[in-house]
C-alpha cells in the first residue's frame, strides 16, 4: 500500500487488529522489542542483521511466509486434539470426533511430527481419579500411530488451593500480608501436586507412552516450577519416558519467593535460566514461553520473543521447542490467531533463534 512517498505496510497489533505502519515505524518497533528483551532478561539484543531479517519478514507482501528448505524443525503440540473436539474455552471447533480419531487426523491430515493425548480438563489433578481411562486411550492410540505420542497435562497448582482444592489460597493470604501462611500453603500444595504428577506419569509409562509433556509449567509461580522439576527428576531416574517441560510465561513469578532448586532461586528466572533447571532435572525437551503484549505491534512482540528465545537456545544442551501459540512467541492474543503473523513468528523463531522445534 502506498501513501505519497512513504510505503505503509499491512501488519497487526498484539491483539490481532490490522494496522498500517511505515517501514521506519516497524524498524523502530523491532529495535524497541529487542531492547526490552535485553533489558528485562539481561541478555544480548538481536544483531542488526537479525533485526533486518525480521524487518524483511514483517514487510514482505505475502500472507504466508516459510523457512528456507533444509531449515525445517520438529513440531510438538500441547492440548492438540482438543482443537478439533473441544469447545471455545479450549480454542476448539466442536468437531464431533474422538481423541483417537483426532490424533489420526493430526498425524495423517495435518502431518505433525509428534502428538499427545490429553484430558479435556487438561490438568493433572482431574486426571488422577480417572487415570485408567487415560491409560486405555493412550494405549489405543499407540497401537495405531507411528509418530511419537506424549501424554500431556498442566501442573496447574492453583487447582490445589481453595475453593477448588484443600489448601489455603495464597491469593487470599498475600493481600492480608499473611506471608508465612501463603508460603506454607504453596509448599504443602506443591508436595501433593508432585505426588499426583508422579503417579499419573508412571501410569502412562506402564502402558508405553513415548513421553510426558508438562504444559504451562509455573503458571502459579515458583512453587509449581519446583514441584515440576522434582517430578521430572523422579521420572528421569525411574522410567523410560521422554520428558518435555513447557513453560507458562517468560518469567517465573515469585509467589513464594524463596524456593530453590539445586541451590538456585527459581523466582525471577527467564528462559535462559529456566532451561538450565529443566536440564538439571533430567528433561529431554524444553519449551520456553514469551508473552505477547496486546498493546504493542507484532513487530515488537516477535523481535522481543525471538531475542529471549535465542538466548535460551544458545545455552541449552537439550532440544528447545519454543511455544509459538495464541498469545506467546510473538503470536497475537486472538481466538483465531492470524496466519500471516503465526507464520512470521514461526519463521523468525526458526531462522534466528536456531530452535530445535516449535
Amino acid at each position: 500500500m502506498k501513501g505519497g512517498a512513504i510505503t505503509r505496510h499491512r501488519t497487526r497489533m498484539g491483539d490481532g487488529r490490522v494496522v498500517e505502519m511505515s517501514t521506519d515505524e516497524i524498524r523502530a518497533d523491532i529495535e524497541a522489542g529487542t531492547e526490552d528483551a535485553a533489558d528485562k532478561g539481561q541478555i544480548e539484543p538481536l544483531t542488526s542483521d537479525e533485526q533486518d531479517y525480521i524487518l524483511e519478514l514483517m514487510t514482505a507482501p505475502y500472507r504466508v511466509v516459510a523457512v528456507q528448505p533444509g531449515n525445517e524443525v520438529v513440531l510438538t503440540d500441547d492440548g492438540s486434539a482438543g482443537a478439533l473436539y473441544g469447545p471455545q474455552s479450549s480454542s476448539g471447533t466442536g468437531t464431533p470426533v474422538s481423541r483417537e480419531q483426532a490424533i489420526r487426523v493430526y498425524e495423517r491430515g495435518f502431518c505433525l511430527d509428534t502428538m499427545e493425548v490429553g484430558h479435556p480438563d487438561y490438568s493433572f489433578r482431574p486426571v488422577k481419579p480417572i487415570v485408567p481411562m487415560e491409560q486405555q486411550t493412550i494405549e489405543s492410540v499407540l497401537q495405531s500411530t507411528i509418530i511419537p505420542i506424549y501424554y500431556g497435562a498442566m501442573p496447574n497448582l492453583a487447582l490445589y488451593y481453595d475453593p477448588d482444592g484443600p489448601f489455603g489460597n495464597p491469593a487470599d493470604f498475600l493481600p492480608k500480608a499473611m506471608i508465612k501462611e501463603a508460603r506454607e500453603a504453596q509448599v504443602q500444595a506443591a508436595e501433593v501436586c508432585r505426588r499426583d504428577m508422579i503417579y499419573i506419569s508412571k501410569k502412562m509409562a506402564e502402558v508405553g507412552a513415548d513421553g510426558i509433556n508438562f504444559d504451562t509449567t509455573a503458571s502459579a509461580g515458583d512453587a509449581e516450577f519446583l514441584a515440576t522439576l522434582q517430578t521430572v527428576e523422579e521420572l528421569a531416574n525411574t522410567t523410560d519416558l521422554s520428558i518435555e517441560v513447557g513453560m507458562a510465561s517468560e518469567f517465573v513469578l515469585g509467589m513464594h519467593g524463596e524456593l530453590e532448586y539445586q541451590g538456585k532461586r527459581l523466582a525471577g528466572m527467564y528462559p535462559h535460566d529456566q532451561v538450565k533447571m529443566v536440564e538439571a532435572a533430567g528433561a529431554h525437551v524444553f519449551g520456553p514461553a514469551v508473552n505477547t503484549s496486546t498493546r504493542r505491534s507484532s513487530a515488537w512482540n516477535i523481535a522481543r520473543a525471538v531475542a529471549l528465545t535465542k538466548a535460551c537456545s544458545q545455552v541449552a544442551t537439550i532440544p528447545v521447542h519454543a511455544n509459538v501459540g495464541m498469545g506467546v512467541g510473538g503470536v497475537p492474543m486472538s481466538e483465531t490467531p492470524p496466519i500471516d503473523m503465526v507464520t512470521r513468528a514461526s519463521v523468525a523463531m526458526v531462522e534466528i533463534a536456531r530452535l530445535d522445534g516449535l
Partner: protein
C-alpha cells in the same frame, strides 16, 4: 494454528522424516542438527532429502516404516514403529511393551 506452523516450518511428520528426527530429540536429547545428521546417515540420504516429501515417500515405502497414504499391507502402527526402532537403533516404549506380551 498447528497447520500454519506445519506449512511454514514443520518437517512434515510421516510424510517425510519428521517423526524420525523427532524420535532422536525425544529419546536421545539430540539437538536438531545432530538429530538430522543421525537420521540421514541411518537412512542413507542427504540432509536435504529429510524434508523432501517426494523422495521420502518412496524411501519410507521401501523401508516399510509407515507411509502417509493408506496402502494396504504396508506397515502401520506398532509394526511400523518396530521397524523404526530397529532402523534408528533406539527403543520405543510401546514396541517394548508388545515384546513383553509376546514372551
Amino acid at each position: 494454528m498447528p497447520v500454519a506452523h506445519a506449512l511454514a516450518s514443520g518437517m512434515g511428520g510421516i510424510r517425510t522424516a519428521g517423526d524420525l528426527v523427532a524420535r532422536m530429540q525425544l529419546h536421545r536429547k539430540m539437538r536438531l542438527p545432530q538429530a538430522k545428521e543421525y537420521v540421514a546417515e541411518k537412512l542413507g540420504v542427504g540432509l536435504d532429502q529429510l524434508a523432501d516429501e517426494v523422495s521420502m515417500r518412496e524411501l519410507r515405502e521401501d523401508l516399510d516404516i509407515g507411509v502417509i497414504t493408506a496402502v494396504p499391507g504396508a506397515a502401520k502402527g506398532l509394526a511400523a514403529k518396530s521397524r523404526i526402532a530397529k532402523l534408528l537403533d533406539i527403543e520405543i516404549a510401546s514396541v517394548e511393551r508388545l515384546k513383553e506380551k509376546m514372551r
